[in-house]
């Protein structure tokens, strides 16, 4: 057995889970799909006193839509969300991004809430939440419910605003309308690997002008990075006036990529610039001169 010893509980309700978290005073860790936590336990990088398994909580799974938004319960399996045809129609870029999260086998256990809560900087789901303007629904026993905007949720690599007694119960994704174009591109070494560089978002066009833009990078800094300057430059601009390469420069200016054994920061910036210009140009159907 590789993990260090721990106690295990599998509460049946959110209230019971919150009780355990509150009583444990920081010694408890939530176990959702386990596709990140189990490796961390095996490597003893995580050594909780109590493991709180959320997989038996009733009503912790499922997707529901209103006219304005889509609510994805935190425990929804990645494979289930990916196979949901209604979800694909309502949130096409979510579906596209999710198809790049790990493998068929890991998606069968991994959850949307686990991926969003973990805050891996190169992961697809946190950046998707940031790009789309999602809100994260959080519960604790002593302070009730709060909702945090995704772009205020991530503080650093694997660091979020979550307190040890808090549980993410759902993610709310605004609906962008069927006309909004999708922007997605990921460069990874193999299918299912974490991205070296990735870009995700949507752009809404009205009367030949950009009405709304939500764009975020993954693998390009300590957290998912909202491409604020690029979004602002796009909004209100006529399609005929958009220079994707100029916008890409603005988008790169907001990033803070790192060098690791997979790629240098310089590589990430160079590739990022290229995929941003090309992906945005293709999404908006803008002809560009060859680079």
């Amino acid at each position: 057995m590789k993990p260090a010893p721990f106690d295990y509980v599998a509460p049946g309700t959110v209230a019971e889970a919150l009780d355990v978290l509150a009583e444990a005073g920081g010694g408890a860790t939530l176990l959702a799909g386990g596709q990140t936590l189990m490796p961390l336990l095996a490597l003893r990088m995580s050594q909780p006193f109590i493991l709180v398994d959320v997989n038996r909580i009733e009503g912790f799974r499922g997707i529901s839509h209103t006219a304005e938004s889509t609510r994805v319960a935190a425990g929804t399996r990645q494979a289930v969300a990916l196979a949901d045809a209604e979800m694909k129609g309502a949130q096409p870029v979510f579906n596209l991004a999710l198809s790049h999260v790990g493998h068929y086998q890991t998606r069968n256990r991994g959850t949307i809430g686990g991926s969003v809560s973990l805050g891996e900087p190169a992961a697809e789901m946190p950046a998707t939440a940031v790009a789309l303007g999602a809100e994260i629904e959080i519960h604790s026993r002593d302070r009730g419910t709060r909702r945090v905007k995704a772009d205020e949720f991530y503080l650093g690599p694997y660091m979020t605003v979550l307190e040890p007694d808090e549980l993410v119960t759902a993610i709310h994704y605004p609906r962008w309308g069927a006309d909004a174009v999708t922007v997605f591109r990921e460069v990874a070494q193999r299918p299912g690997d974490f991205a070296l560089v990735g870009l995700v978002g949507r752009v809404a066009i009205e009367g030949g002008k950009i009405a709304r833009a939500g764009l975020a990078w993954f693998g390009m800094g300590p957290t998912p990075i909202k491409a604020r300057q690029a979004e602002q430059a796009l909004i209100g601009t006529a399609l005929s006036d958009i220079d994707p390469r100029g916008i890409a420069e603005l988008a790169i200016a907001d990033t803070d990529p790192f060098t690791d054994h997979h790629a240098t920061a310089h590589y990430r910036r160079t590739v990022g610039r290229r995929i941003f210009a090309r992906t945005l140009g293709e999404a908006l159907n803008i002809q560009q001169a060859a680079a």
């Binding site: 057995m1 590789k2 993990p3 260090a4 010893p5 721990f6 106690d7 295990y8 509980v9 599998a10 176990l31 386990g34 596709q35 189990m38 490796p39 336990l41 095996a42 490597l43 493991l51 398994d53 997989n55 494979a79 790990g102 493998h103 068929y104 086998q105 890991t106 069968n108 256990r109 193999r190 299918p191 299912g192």
Partner: protein, 167 residues
Amino acid sequence: MSEHAIEVTINGRPVSGRVEARKTLGDFLRVDAGFTGTHLGCEHGVCGACTVIVDGLAVRSCLMLAVQADGAEVTTIEGLAAEDGTFHPVQQAMRDNHALQCGFCTPGVVCTMAALTADDAKPSEDQLIAAMSGHLCRCTGYQGIRRAIRQLTGQPTGVAADHGEHA
């Protein structure tokens, strides 16, 4: 350190046991239940060798605790062939196409494809190849596995049908 009584249906037969919370399903299958056909390679989710079928879905048994499998139905490589030893179609396709050498990765690969083709589901070649991204094979170079996938999806493999019998 908590201990838990669990009951898991493995290959159609109920198996009960008492497990420490930290015991993975993979260790439980191999050490407690004796189904050593499930192979543990990396034990942290990367290689796919430990893949088994839990309630109809292929999952990594090193990334699931045994206690989480309480009440579940698990199928391992030992549970795929018929009682009389007739291979499961996935096993037959692997054999016909020389899709294994040392066999370490094979139980996991077979479980993935068996789950995806169960109940007469007809996954596409692309879907099966994409699912193979969850497995590492250090021997075959994957070409035999690709041919097995072509056989499973009803396409020509370029290998004579009786090849396996006389090799």
